[in-house]
Amino acid sequence: MSVLQVEHLYKTYHSYPSHIGWRNERKAKSVEGARFGWLGRWFKQSSEQTGVTALDDISFQLQQGECLGLVGESGSGKSTLARCLLGIESADRGRIVLAGEELGGQSQSEHQLRQQRRHIQIVFQNPTAALNPKLTIRQSLLDPYREYRHQLDLNYFRADREDRFARQLMEAVELPTALLDRYPHQLSGGQRQRVTIARAISIEPKLVVLDEPTASLDVISQAAILQLLAQLKQELGLSYLFISHDLAAVCQLSDRIMVMKEGQIVDRCLRHELFEQERHAYTQELVSIF
C-alpha cells in the first residue's frame, strides 16, 4: 500500500521577500500583482523570470514500511520538498496524496487538514531548536499526543495514562525515564535527538520525514541513532523519507534511493544498485566523492 504519492510537484521561489509559512505564502502571491500596481507591470514580468525553481516536476511513491532515501547537495530542493509535504509551504502545482487523501485540496476544511497531519511527523537536523527550551522533556513529548488524544488508534503504545505513555516512549528510544522531568539543556545532543524521535513516533504516524537527523551529531551518536531508527521502523512498521547528504547514512537505512539535483530527481535506484556503473553521471560523482 502506498503511504505517500507525489505527482508532478512544482515550486518556484520568487525574488520578493516572503516569510516561510503557508499563510504568508498564499498572501505573497496575491500581493505580487497588487504591490507593483500601475507603476510597474514590467517589474512583475521580470520578477517572474528571476524566480528560483526549487522543485521541478517531482513524482514518486513511498510504500508502507519502506525507507526512501533522498540525497543531493545543499540547495537541491530536498528540504523544500519536506516542507511542502508537511504543509509548512505550499507547492505551486502538483498533487500530494498522503494515506489515501490529497493534501491541501481545495475542499478541505481545517478539521480535515488537522486529521491528515497526524499521519506525518518530522525529525529535524538540529534537536536543540526542535525542543522548546522552557518545557520539560515530558511536556514536549506529550505535545502531539495531547492534540490528537481522541482520534488516536495506537497499536504499539498504550496511552491510557499520560505518565505511563511518556515512560513507554522513553523506553522505546532507550532513554532513562528519569530524564522526563529535565529540561532540554540538561541533555546531550544525542539524547535530545532521541527525544525528538520519540515525539515523532508517539502518535504512530504513517510517515516520518527525517530531515538530516544525524547531521549535528558526533559519529558514535550518529551510528546509535541510525540503529535506533532501523529498529523502530521494524517494530512500528513506519515509513521513512530519509533526507540527507550523507551517503553512508542513507545507504545504511534506505531500501530505495533518489538523487536530487537543482530541483529535479535525476536518478532512482535500489540500495545495492547505487554503486553500479550504469548510474547517472551525477550519482557517480556523488559516490566517488563519498
Binding site: K27, D143, P144, R199
Partner: protein, 288 residues
Amino acid sequence: MDIVKKHHRVALSMRRLQPIVLVAMLSVVLCACGYAFFYLKHDPLLTDLGQRLQGMSPQHPLGTDHLGRDTFTRLLLGGQQTLGYSLLALGTALLLGIPFGLLAGYRRGWVDRIFVRISNGFLAFPDTIVAIVLSGLLGAGIGNLVMAIVIVKWVNYARLVRSIVLGEAEKDYIRIARTNGLPSGTIMRRHLLPHVIGHVLVMASLDLGKIILLISSFSYIGLGTQPPLPEWGAMLNDARPYFQSRPELMLFPGIAIVITVLLANMLGDMLRDRFDVKKDDWSREVPS
C-alpha cells in the same frame, strides 16, 4: 579552596533566604494596608481640629495631621489605595498587553501592522506627559488616572512580548507544533507564553515601583486620589506647609513609598532568577 566553598555556601543561603524575607516583608505591608479598616480604632477620615498636628503619643502612634486625623491610620488606608490601584493598573495593562503582543508577534499580518503604528505613536511621547494629558482631558480622579496609566503602559508589555515572540516563532519547535496541527491559541499558550512570562513579570515588578510613584506623584499634584481619602502622595502634599514644624508628617509617607518601591524592585530580581530555568539550575549546585 575551603574559603571559596564556604563563601559560596554563605552566598547560596543568602540567595535562598532573600525571597523568604522579601515575601514576608511584602505581605506585612499588604496585610497591614489590606486589613486597615478592621482593627484600627481611629476613623482615618474623621477630623478633630482640637487634636491637630499632635506629636507621637500612645493614642496616635505617629501623631496627627493638620486636620487632627490619625497619621498611622491614614498611612495604612493610603497604602491600601496606592497599592490597590497600582496593582489594578498593572494587572489590566498585563491582561491587555500580553495577548496583544502574542497575537501581533505570532500572527503577523494586519494585527501586527496596526499594533506597530499605535506603539510607535505612544513611543513618541514620554509616559508621564501622556498620563497628565489624559487625566487632564478625562478629569481629575483616581479612576481616570488608572485608565491613563493602563493606556500608557500596556503598549510596553505588548512590545516586549511581540519582540520575544518574533524571535521564537521562526524556530523549529514552533514549526513542529504547527505541523502537528496545534491551533494558534494553543501554540501561543503552551509554547510561547512560558518564554514571555518571565520577562513580563520582571518588567511588571519594576513597573510596579514606577506606577506607585506615578500614582503618588499625581495625587501629590492633585490629579489622583481626591480628598478626604488618604493616599501617600496626597499625604505628602497635605504635609508640605507644616514641613518646618512637623517634618515627620512628610517623612512617614515618604518612607512608606521608598520601602514599597524597593520591595517591588527586589521582587523583580527574584522573579527573574525564578523564571530563568538555566540559572535556577546552576544556583542549586555547590561546586566541589
